[in-house]
Amino acid sequence: MTIAIGFEGSANKLGVGIIRDQDVLSNVRHTYITPPGEGFLPRETAQHHRECILNVLQKALDEAKITLKDVDVICYTKGPGMGAPLTVTALIARTVAQIYNKPIVAVNHCIGHIEMGRLITGSVNPTVLYVSGGNTQVIAYSRQRYRIFGETIDIAVGNCLDRFARLLKLSNDPSPGYNIEQLAKKGTKLAPLPYVVKGMDVSFSGILSYIEEHLSGWLNSKEFTPEDLCFSLQETVFAMLIEITERAMAHVKSSEVLIVGGVGCNEKLQDMMKVMCEERNAVLHATDERFCIDNGVMIAVAGLLQYKTQGHTSWAETTCVQRYRTDDVHISWRE
């Protein structure tokens, strides 16, 4: 039996997760929440991670009922992400590895989402929709790589939602996306937003500038309420995501979908995906916020797979990088 601990801190969530082989022992997270109208910046986010790490780590150990001595391998997020928060996370992981003299594994954040999604849902070879604050990708596996079939050509869907929430001054607690989802439930009228799909790629920046341009007019004339706009935004961007997922499925002849990443816990998105899957006799796999949103377990899961097939990462390579593509990683643990 192998115990792995994962440290995640590439954006505004700080997470520590512990697994024993395939069993989750603990999964603790603390999110840096900014006031309405404000996004999170690298320096303040890194500061948050530094302040919270000891508590989060202790809580994860307590819940797992182990000490760091019992851990067999330390895993951390190498990238992609924001420079300063990544650096804090790497520093913590390296320190723990040094103090307890444990092997360390550097993990690609996106691969963490995918492997944990596969583990939790039991899906075997799904087409993956990876949607978060910084990423929007449609991925399918072949020949030891997760290959990107479609992606955003400008901003990520989560970024689009977050920036829209800031325009409306919605609360960032627990997350802007969650609050949009709740308001959207009361919206009824569909605003005609741009819908941009190019092959298997999507674009969101035009939607945002279109909304910026019309927002005050719409609200002042009462043509659309904030609820209507949340509703319209979700209907439009989610339809785009489902469409490119379906395009990739048709192309690779897949009948299994897995949604991962922070936006993936949106129930409206999951419901829409489910309907699409039914229309083409496919099955949907999704998880809830415990696992969709950035967390430590995902890093432990991917790190342990990597450790078992490739061994640990050499000390000189335990750095971090802001850009690190999903398809850069050699997937040694799959056929």
Partner: protein
């Protein structure tokens, strides 16, 4: 549609095969997508049926092999078009050839010759396909003899699925069209990583407007760089 038989569910439509006015016909039905808002679904379906008919007619007029359009019915969400007989989908053709390990230069040159020539022709007529993947190309009357004589490859290629097509003269749109193709080849046909650059070579040879061709090439590099530079956080 009584005696029509469902043959496939593609990226957005169901396609049926049968006989219409004595001719082998394919009905492409963009059935109602229940996952999206009904108004949005109607708008997209209408736009795409129109776009597909327009682009196919324009491409045909330019001498590019595409199925002939027989009828379009916006109410019933379908297009009746010529059914291309003795055809295989390029994606399946490549997968099959690779599994037979006939991955030689001739196969590569044949595909590059065919696709490079046709995409250049489309772009010269300002037709942006919008969804260039190997699932949207048919090869007709193909045998190993043809592959050897790859100079005439374009005669065997039929381009389909113009639902995302536009008429647009901008260099940016042409560059993005090529970039979409490159990415789809890299992801779906990673066994033959050189395919795109070969296609692009042939494309440039056949792009008669040399000045614009240069602009497309440099724009393409810019689009590619944009993709690589994109930050990915969270």
């Amino acid at each position: 549609m009584n005696d029509f038989e469902l043959i496939a569910q593609g990226a957005e439509a169901r396609v049926y095969k049968g006989i219409y006015l004595g001719k082998p016909t394919l009905i492409k039905e963009r059935f109602e997508k229940k996952y999206r808002h009904a108004d949005l679904d109607k708008r997209l379906t209408k736009d795409r049926i129109k776009a597909e008919c327009r682009a196919i007619i324009r491409a045909k007029a330019a001498g590019i092999a595409t199925p002939a359009i027989y009828l379009a019915n916006l109410e019933r969400r379908c297009i009746y078009m010529e059914y291309i007989e003795n055809a295989v989908i390029l994606k399946e053709f490549i997968d099959k050839k690779l599994s037979e390990e006939t991955n030689d230069d001739r196969l590569l040159n044949f595909i590059a010759q065919g696709l490079g020539t046709i995409i250049a022709k489309l772009h010269l007529k300002n037709i942006i396909h919008g969804d260039l993947t190997t699932s949207n190309v048919l090869l007709k009357n193909i045998d190993d003899d043809h592959i050897k004589k790859y100079k005439n490859a374009a005669n065997n290629f039929v381009i389909i699925d113009f639902g995302l097509a536009r008429v647009e003269s901008s260099v940016e749109d042409k560059a993005v069209d090529l970039y979409v193709l490159e990415r789809s080849l890299l992801s779906a046909h990673s066994e033959i990583p050189l395919l795109f650059s070969k296609i692009f070579d042939i494309y440039q040879k056949h792009y008669a407007n040399k000045n614009q061709c240069k602009e497309i090439v440099s724009k393409y590099k810019e689009v590619q760089l944009r993709g690589r530079k994109r930050l990915m956080i969270g």
